[in-house]
């Protein structure tokens, strides 16, 4: 057994918290403070931070409330991953630390920093508002309190998991595209939009969907799955994002956005050749002008290196393509029948 393994089995040990500090009133840039404290096994990161604030440095600033993984206030980056401090065991984190006995604690990313570990949540709230993420009731006002909606279990199951979201913003902090552009809708907002859009009591499905397919919306997600992996409630957020895309294609067709045209190209090529025709993908997604402007200089380099994808006539169809096409067509028949059975879905 190695020394570190022995240490991990100890009931009490010295642990250093390397904590991000920044007070905009006095500091020109952020820095890290190390706090080394003796801790008992079984303690959470939040309790350790509370101890530091009470006994070591009262100026350390962080948000926390319920201490039970329900309110979502204490989300922060612990050892490079966004999570709740109140449900994270110090001993578990020590196993993951890159430097022995040191746990790194930083504020969430992709949101403006206020102080130390506290970030501004307003941008997230503002996006929730701009995508109308509430149920806008189908029932007329005069019937409120008199009639009720009946929601089937099957319908409830569609958004059951999405309603577990506690708005902790861990997914927001881990999002790749939000990091590249703060205008992006963000995973938490997409999850909430999905939840509202599959609710039969809601009346603004079309309007919300029209907003979601615009620039910086649902098509900008790059499928990195970091949101889903960091979700403290284990919500399959990508299923919701894919759900909105599926809905967008079903309701709005495949021609209105570059994202939908791009997705449709896969379907077309598979049906026709069984293989993707990469050479024409940029043109089919964004048109000739965009392709010439954005990809022509690179295309020259690719030609020189013989790296260009083959032109469409030279893309060899998959073996037994005729049989495959017949199967694909048969499934198209099944899908049409499904749609006929479930109108509006």
């Amino acid at each position: 057994m190695s020394d570190s393994t022995i240490q991990h089995h100890e009931d009490s040990r010295d642990v250093t918290f390397r904590v991000h500090r920044f007070n905009p009133q006095v500091d020109s840039k952020p820095y890290f403070d190390d706090y080394t404290i003796r801790l008992e096994k079984g303690i959470t990161v939040l309790r350790a931070l509370n101890y530091i604030k009470e006994h070591v440095d009262a100026s350390l600033t962080f948000r926390a409330f319920c201490q039970a993984g329900i309110c979502g206030s204490c989300a922060m980056r612990i050892n490079n991953m966004s999570k709740l401090a109140c449900t994270t065991q110090v001993w578990d984190e020590l196993e993951k630390s890159r430097e022995p006995d040191i746990i790194k604690v930083e504020p969430l990313r992709n949101l403006p920093l206020i102080k130390d570990l506290v970030v501004e949540m307003d941008p997230l709230v503002d996006k929730m508002k701009s995508y109308s993420n509430w149920v806008d009731s189908k029932m007329s006002e005069e019937n409120w309190g008199k009639k009720e909606f009946l929601v089937s279990e099957a319908e409830f199951l569609k958004y059951d998991k999405a309603t577990d979201c506690i708005l902790c913003a861990s997914c927001v902090s881990e999002c790749t595209i939000l990091r590249a552009n703060r205008e992006y809708v963000s995973p938490a907002v997409l999850l909430k939009s999905y939840r509202m859009n599959v609710d039969s009591r809601d009346s603004i499905h079309e309007q919300r969907l029209a907003g979601l397919v615009k620039d910086h919306g649902v098509w900008d997600c790059t499928h990195c799955y970091r949101c889903q992996e960091s979700c403290v409630k284990h919500i399959p957020i990508m299923d919701a994002i894919h759900g909105i895309r599926e809905d967008a294609i079903a309701e709005r067709g495949t021609k209105d956005t570059s994202g939908a045209r791009h997705a449709e190209a896969f379907m077309e090529d598979i049906e026709k050749k069984g293989k993707l025709v990469e050479a024409t993908l940029p043109i089919r997604t964004n048109g000739v002008v965009w392709t010439m402007k954005n990809l022509l200089p690179m295309a020259f380099k690719m030609v020189l290196k013989r790296r260009t994808p083959p032109p469409p006539p030279l893309v060899k169809s998959t073996k037994d393509i005729e049989k495959f096409r017949a199967e694909f067509k048969e499934m198209t028949g099944h899908v049409a029948k499904d749609h006929a059975k479930k109108p509006g879905e």
Binding site: T222, H242, F266, E278, N294, T318, K319, F328, T332
Partner: protein
Amino acid sequence: MKRYAYYQSCINESMTREVDRSIELWQHDLGIEMVKLHESTCCGGSNLDYVSPKHFALVNARNIAAAEKMGLDLVVSCNTCLMTIRSAKKKLDESEELRSEVNEILKSEGLEYRGTSDVRHLLWVLIDDVGLDVISQKVKAPLARLRIAPFYGCHILRPSSVLGKDNPMEPTSLDLLLGALGGKTIPYDHKNRCCGFHTLLVAEEESLNVAAEALQEAMDEKADCIVTPCPLCHTVLDGYQAKALKRSGRRGSIPVYHLSEVVGLALGYTDRQLGIRRHIVT
């Protein structure tokens, strides 16, 4: 010689042909044989699943069933194909209704999806079947002088419910393999991050920002090269490198190698044989 059904990814048949070429060169040296699955089709590239979930299930049930008919595991060398085919497999394994619907259609071609073949990445086969010890014994030209920035790519790690091989935020498999080849890997934040490939044509600006950040971190950490097990990541980090770095105002460049190429280099093949000269950054 252990045999596998080898899935032919669209990109490896067009832009990144050097991947399959290098695997063909060294496969027998490591006692494995990739039998090309000529009847396989495009997996849907993480797009078909929301255009038409049922076609998505059919197409990939057929891809896997073709491997099952040969009694072999399906091996993939593109991360997105891996994630896509494995997520279809998960859906098929979890739903008898979906399985029987696709099997009813596949019957006409003499195929049946049973769920007997695993779907695995080439990297996993090298580690789990060939073994790191065997690989290091076969190394003729260790990558000893190289400081390597391993770039795993998303779809070999996440969603972990579908992939499940590595810790999705602290992966080690590629580091272990590169270590067995005699290389020294560096720790850096982007090793588990995204390359931006899937939004290149839809949100190009964002994708280039994502790529630039990854390239810059590897360069800041004084890596000699980046190695990736995914041809899509390679296409962004190599093909779009100049464009991404220009946007971010960063000078310089860094070579990006496929996993299959560095295996070939360590086994004594030349960059010309392996197709490395086809890269944009050389």
